[in-house]
């Protein structure tokens, strides 16, 4: 169609014609280009994902085979592993750091640090973020935080032992936990990470508000951008609370303050309230971007507009809004005021509604669509089904009486992993495959991607579904050896089964890693719009050049015009394509002299 061909906005061209040529350091290391920063986040976060996975393998060895020496255990120092057996002190460090690395240094930066940075300017039609240098600092701060956290493994007494949630008094008392420098490093790392997060979120919010291309009205933005916008607002308001709490915990550890010390009049529960007041918005930070990107991918894979675009937007806003008043559901067993507990129960049950709206809308999008089962679509559909299961287990736990026996059991662990792995990580597999061509100019192997998806899906469910069962059977969370309890012994075969499945699941991820790395060099060269998608980013060559467009494109329609009659013989109609019936949008006036 000639109109499609005409409307191709010009790319910025081989040139950084406006800028002097940059050194390697400025171009790839200390870059202020949002795409490079996104890719930097990607490599660093994938590394931490691997670290988190290795920690998980050790946990699963211990839980599945408490009596047997761990292969490779001899490599670790005597303080961690003795005679090949993981020591209890080391085991609690494993669970604490697995959670910490996965939440703060893998999933959050993968969803936000990578995709907010990479996608936002491309999808709204901006040259770069509003504050490119602050963006660069945000990456380096996150990396510094990750290094500080990793360093805690190498200090005397090792890393934290009090769970990624660091409940006091254990976390505030080195005499109780045995951890000294490690706790300090955790707190400092979190404060630095908070800075990185706030700087990043600032950027995303300002860029989305002020730097949208002409015609890119709020309700023409893709859902991935909406989700990242709302996530950034959550981040900017929630992370500082954690920073404050971490500082107070740090001071209790090193300055002798008494914030959480009941003996001096402090309140141990204060920590839990502060942590979860941050923690609950945090889990929505960990899922909303995934939901947004999945919406884009499912619409693409169904060749249909997203079902109920406006309700999807309001659902995101509703989830974010309600997310501030549910934090107590993490504390039903803490001994808190039961009346307050009831209010948290109601609000938590309520928050299921917007989430359910989204699930039904994804299904409505796929219904009678011209489905294309490409790898991102398969992972996205996997997301929907796994997130639904995770959400359903959430309903169980939201009801306080049901939560009372389930709290701090493997049931909770199952829920966490269904939403974080079944949810966020599957969405990330989808997103990484989908935007790989935009990042690197190559396609990942479709066949390897499908094999990886199916194997992951099967082993993932084999690993985490049985955890619901052993949790209901009473196996506690973070426990070193379930077999010390007679009532748990009958479940031990299930623990073994889970461990075997987990090892297989971990092994299968090397398929993805291989696919990812191998395709960088040997992957098929990507066409400009490999998925026949409508977003602005596909108007640029792959990989997208520095500065994105020479002149930002005009936007003529929403992002999900698939199978639109106006498109003629194509089943997609990009946002930037000007049809004869379209009028140019009127931009805000550009100041003279630019």
């Amino acid at each position: 169609m000639t109109s499609v061909a005409h409307a191709q906005p010009h790319a910025h061209g081989g040139g950084d014609a406006h800028h002097a040529p940059m050194s390697f350091w400025r171009k790839y290391i200390f870059s202020t280009d949002h795409k490079i920063i996104g890719i930097q986040f990607l490599f660093v976060s994938l590394f931490f994902l691997l670290v988190g996975g290795i920690l998980a393998m050790q946990i699963r060895w211990q839980l599945g085979f408490p009596a047997k020496p761990m292969p490779g255990g001899g490599l670790l120092p005597e303080t961690m592993v003795s005679d090949g057996h993981i020591l209890p002190e080391y085991y609690v460090q494993l669970v604490s750091m697995h959670g910490t690395f996965m939440v703060f240094f893998a999933i959050m930066p993968l969803l936000v640090g990578v995709y907010a940075n990479f996608l936002i300017p491309l999808k709204i039609g901006a040259h770069d973020m509003a504050f490119p240098r602050i963006n660069m600092w945000s990456f380096w701060a996150a990396l510094l935080a990750g290094l500080i956290m990793t360093a805690s493994f190498f200090v005397p007494n090792g890393p934290i032992r009090s769970g990624w949630t660091n409940y006091v008094p254990l976390a505030a008392r080195p005499d109780l936990s045995g951890v000294t420098v490690g706790q300090m490093l955790w707190c400092i790392s979190i404060v630095v990470l908070g800075l990185s997060s706030v700087m990043g979120s600032l950027n995303y919010i300002t860029t989305i508000i002020n730097h949208r291309a002409p015609g890119m009205t709020w309700f023409r933005m893709p859902l991935s951008v909406w989700a990242l916008f709302i996530t950034a607002i959550l981040g900017v308001l929630a992370l500082p609370v954690l920073q404050g709490a971490a500082i107070m915990l740090l001071f209790d550890n090193v300055l002798g303050t008494h914030f959480f010390d009941p003996a001096a009049g402090g309140q141990a529960l204060l920590w839990q309230h502060l942590f979860w007041f941050f923690g609950h918005p945090e889990v929505y930070i960990l899922i909303l971007p995934a939901m947004g990107m999945v919406s884009d991918i499912i619409a693409n894979g169904s060749r249909k507009p997203i079902f109920g675009y406006h309700s999807m937007v309001f659902a995101i806003i509703g989830i974010a809004f309600l997310g501030w008043i549910v934090w107590g559901h993490h504390m039903f067993m803490s001994g808190m005021n039961p009346t307050l507990g009831s209010t948290f129960m109601v609000s938590t049950l309520l928050i299921a509604v917007p989430s359910a709206v989204k699930v039904f809308n994804w299904m409505g999008t796929m219904w009678r669509g011209n489905l294309r089962f490409h790898v991102p679509m398969m992972n996205a559909i996997g997301f929907v089904s796994m997130f639904t299961i995770g959400g359903l287990s959430g309903i169980y736990m939201a009801a306080t009486p049901v939560d009372i026996p389930l709290h701090d059991t493997q049931f909770i662990v199952a829920h966490i992993h269904y939403v974080l792995f079944g949810g966020s990580l599957f969405a990330l597999f989808a997103a990484m495959t989908y935007w790989y061509p935009k990042m690197f100019g190559k396609m990942m192997s479709e066949r390897l991607g499908k094999v990886h998806f199916w194997l992951t899906f099967v082993f993932y469910n084999m690993t985490f579904f049985p955890m619901h069962i052993i949790g209901m059977g009473g196996q506690m969370r973070r426990i070193y050896d379930p077999t010390i309890y007679n009532f748990l012994k009958p479940q031990q075969p299930l623990n073994e089964f889970i461990s075997y499945s987990a090892f297989a699941l971990f092994a299968v991820q090397f398929l993805f890693a291989f696919n990812f790395l191998w395709s960088l060099k040997f992957g098929k060269k990507a066409p400009q719009n490999p998925w026949d998608d409508n977003g602005l980013e596909w108007s640029l060559p792959n990989p997208a050049p520095h500065g994105n467009w020479e002149k930002v494109p005009n936007v003529y329609r929403g992002p999900y015009e698939f199978s639109a009659p106006e498109a003629g013989d194509k089943d997609y109609l990009p946002q930037y394509t000007k049809l004869p019936t379209d009028r140019d949008p009127v931009p805000a006036p550009v100041p003279a002299g630019h």
């Binding site: 308001l237 204060l270 309230h273 005021n337 805000a588 006036p589």
Partner: protein, 99 residues
Amino acid sequence: MTATSSTPSTAAHKRPNYVMIWLYLFVLTVAEVALAFELPLSRNVKLLLLLFLAVWKALLVALFFMHLKFERWRLRLIFIIPLPLAAILITAVIMEKVF
């Protein structure tokens, strides 16, 4: 350079008298210290009055020095949104402790 046709970021307004605001702030501060130490009121009344004075001063700074009085609602909202969140956290935890 004259303004172009788009709406200005802030409503055209007369510049506030900053010296007057400074005077108000000075008087309010003196009032606070006097109230805290000199006046023989009950503790709770003192608390309420002091908080009232503090909030008044804070509003003067926010509305006039930070020009929030003259900015559009969208900008004011950015500053306002954290406040109910803070209130929720503090109220919920105090209620919880009282139990």
